[in-house]
Symmetry: C2
Subunit: 356 residues, 2 copies
């Protein structure tokens, strides 16, 4: 008998109550099958109210009561100081203590990242965790990081992110040699700021579990030009939010267009099946799950406004990371990268360039 | 009789020949009416071949011959050194010498910016020019800058961009008190890097020809949350290219969806009128024209791959800036901003904060 997969759920995070988290676990259980167990952290009475109605889930679950909740507008520093017995903190503690394999929360991103960083710490060889997510593109799904954990990143950190992303593409998405691009404002060597140019120099000279493609521009992301897009958390956060916003704007306009006349309404009705397939392909709920990569423990953030289906996607993302042994693979690969002579000399050369 | 509006056209820039530039001028002439004159810079035989077929345009045009062309992959530094007699440089020189009111080119952006900066210089009170453009949003068109001229920008430069954008929204778009947002990765005061926080402090404390709205995030751009979005050239360039890429991706998927079955095809046929109106609303050719704001002369960059209609939009953008006396208004407003005691103290406080 294999060891069960245990997922700690912060039942109180997000814009909703534990109802959504319990329903999400139920959907995830159906997908993941036997061998998965859930720990619900939060107000036991609220959780039980929904959990008791689902016998299969109940049999696979444990409830750990706490009254304390980190609110969605809590500052990360306050959450760290006062959040010791919060549902979020207890769920992360379970991963740290080896009582759970992964934690999923829809709570406050800043508090979750700060707490996960403090409690779980970074993997050896990783200086900072990154937020990564998967996106649909013309050429299939790609992964992008950092999406907001680090406002600025030096070349060495961008290189670590490249390894984090490439290992994800390889072990979770099954791409044997993932291509990695650095997000920049032009493809020529002279473009961009010092950090991105120095990172390009390192990635061009080292061996890592992917192939360095070169610089990519904003429009290369939805084209799916590379399997992994690496950037700092400021640029990545703006990029992903612009993508979401534009997607919503066009969908909105399309709806308006189809409502604008009787003929258009009839047209929409006839094209309904095709439009529905298209909508499914772009469904943000399917792509829900901000992975906190680089930590010594699996932690996934669900969007706070998601419904049960969206939250269950985040649970599946966490389960995939655990089942593919993502963290152990990263630790191996990053050690190999750091042992390369070419890594040291490229980092040293880049630092010389930066300070010049 | 009013003074004619004279527009210098780099007839050799872009992925096409002078044919497109001549056709574009013809379209622009029809829009702008009498009182506009064009100068075509480039190979006279090529230009005349197309120009001679259009009597109305011919009567409003002058051709200045040069064999020299700056190629689309020329490095800006090389273009500056060797481009003295190029069509791009001669067209910019005409604005500098007062022989033309504005220059429009579809040539190499880096070379155009470097040359325009060197030849025209910045307006008094402006340290760096910015590339600005207009975008469609849910709440009408907005303007965003910088889209790539400056990889990094300090708080004072971001403040100047806010003034450049606000004056544009007021005098060209006719918004009496434009709202200005700083692009960031969260709306709270503590979010982002030093430069954007220091710029927020300055904009909150000064009087300028707009109203400071606060931080905006990536998805606020297509929502049209503010009239003017201010950011550094790295982030702005990524943001606009992501928006273009996502828009293309969705349009592409929509086409595929409508082709996927006979019913869907019939649906598309019925909704044709509505979809066409939607397409028109998002037509990138209408929004073509990267304005180089902050220079002592009007310079507009057309996208290199545009057809005549797209290039004519860039000419109309240039004409609008001239006819609304944009540069004189900026010079007045920036002087007023810089004369404020609150501007000095906010800049000084921000610099103290940055170096701490």
């Amino acid at each position: 008998m294999t060891k069960p997969l245990i997922i700690a759920l912060d039942a109180m995070g997000g814009d909703f109550g534990p109802e959504i988290v319990v329903s999400a676990a139920s959907l995830a259980l159906a997908q993941l099958g036997q061998g998965v167990r859930f720990q619900f952290y939060g107000r036991e009475d609220h959780i039980r109210k929904h959990l008791n109605a689902d016998q299969a889930l109940l049999a696979a679950s444990e409830v750990i009561h706490t009254d304390k909740i980190i609110s969605s507008d809590e500052r990360p520093s306050i959450a760290l100081r006062n959040g010791k017995d919060s549902s979020m903190r207890l769920a992360i503690d379970a991963v740290k203590d080896g009582r759970a394999d992964a934690v999923v929360s829809a709570g406050n991103t800043g508090a979750l990242m700060a707490t996960a960083k403090m409690v779980l710490k970074c993997l050896p060889g990783i200086s900072r965790p990154a937020i990564a997510s998967v996106f649909p593109t013309r050429s299939g799904d790609i992964v992008m990081l950092d999406l907001g954990a680090n406002v600025s990143c030096d070349a060495e950190i961008l290189t670590q992110f490249a390894v984090l992303g490439a290992v994800y593409a390889r072990v979770v998405k099954g791409v044997p040699t993932p291509t990695v691009g650095l997000l920049n404002i032009g493809s020529e060597d002279i473009k961009g700021h010092d950090e991105v140019r120095a990172a390009a120099a390192i990635l061009s000279s080292i061996k890592f579990p992917g192939r360095y493609h070169g610089f990519v521009e904003g429009d290369d992301i939805p084209k799916g030009e590379v399997d992994v897009v690496v950037t700092d958390g400021f640029t990545g956060n703006v990029a992903i939010k612009v993508a979401e916003g534009v997607s919503e704007f066009i969908t909105h306009m399309m709806k308006d267009a189809f409502k604008s006349s009787l003929l258009a309404k009839l047209g929409a009705l006839l094209a309904y099946g095709a439009l529905k397939r298209m909508k499914k392909r772009l469904d943000p709920r399917v792509y829900n799950g901000g992975m906190f990569l680089g930590l010594n423990g699996i932690c996934v953030k669900s969007h706070g406004g998601m419904n049960a289906f969206g939250f269950s996607s985040a649970i599946l993302v966490a389960a995939n990371l655990v089942r593919n042994d993502y963290n152990r693979r990263v630790a191996q690969e990053i050690e190999q990268v750091m042992n390369q002579e070419s890594f040291f000399s490229a980092v040293a050369a880049g630092q010389g360039g930066n300070s010049a």
